[in-house]
Amino acid sequence: MSITLNVNGTRREFHGDPDTPLLWVIREELGLTGTKYGCGIAQCGACTVHVDSVPLRSCSAPVAAMTGRAIITIEGLASRVAKAVQRAWVDLDVVQCGYCQSGQIMSAVALLEKKLKVSDEDIDHALAGNICRCATYQRIRAAIHLASERLASKEGA
């Protein structure tokens, strides 16, 4: 079966089983390996992408459901909010091993694109499904606050 996808603004074709998890199409077929495989059961958040501006666990969605939808992976993040989040991540040296971080950033960007001024509770609820085995949660939270402050003060990238 042939499925046409819109990934990071580019039209891509997938030929294969329509039930293939989107994650494996992104990684194995399209070579976009920034999106990670963590658990495969939507428990860890490492595979998070945006579909029509909503975060989605790509391990738990069939590629066939993606027709006509706009998929953004970590490689395609380019909005003002995304740049501010990435800058804050670097400035606060958030990453330890880094495996979960693309998923963390995808969720953080989704949060700030919906709500610019956020509380700790907003962050905790939005990123509750993103697990970090290095436990960088405090730095993740600080980086989201920093990005939020910079965006609010027009300092954002």
Binding site: P21, L56, S60, A65, S107, D122, H125, G129
Partner: protein
Amino acid sequence: MTVAHAWLAVIILTGAAASLARADDLRSPESFSAIGDQADRSRSLFVEAGRVLQHPRCLNCHPAGGRPSQGEDQHPHTPLVVRGLDDKGATALPCVTCHQAENFAPSGVPGRPLWQMAPREMAWQGKSLAQICEQIKDRRRNGAKTLTQIHEHLAHDTLVGWAWAPGGNREPAPGTQAQLGALIAAWIETGAACPIR
């Protein structure tokens, strides 16, 4: 094993299988016709429907608090999710982040269109069937629905229908959605009486 023992085993297993089959089914409205008193019949019909309403497939998304539960034991949903402002999850972690339009076997995540929690005022967990019955009829707590609309919701709503096709190793609700619809229709026709507390 002697022949007698073998026959005993067959009888026990057959009985167990029949018992299981009964547990999975819902009684038909007609099977309550022997109950002469209409209010009693109405209550009995609702008690039978309550086997669905109080099943984990329904209760898990009718929680008393701000979080859904999951599984047959109704443990708190993992990962931690909250109902949010619209009962569809938190900002940037809506239900549809994981729950797609269909059950997805490769990950085991259940799915159905319009996946969401029941509103807070429709909480069923921790309530008796009598309380649930009164709540269902109370237009201040049922989304201002008439009994006809309640029947429509239970008999035809696609998200309700997921309870009978939950996928994975999740136990379906008893009977079928059509059987539940027939019970609720008969309950309404007989006066929509609630079980006595």
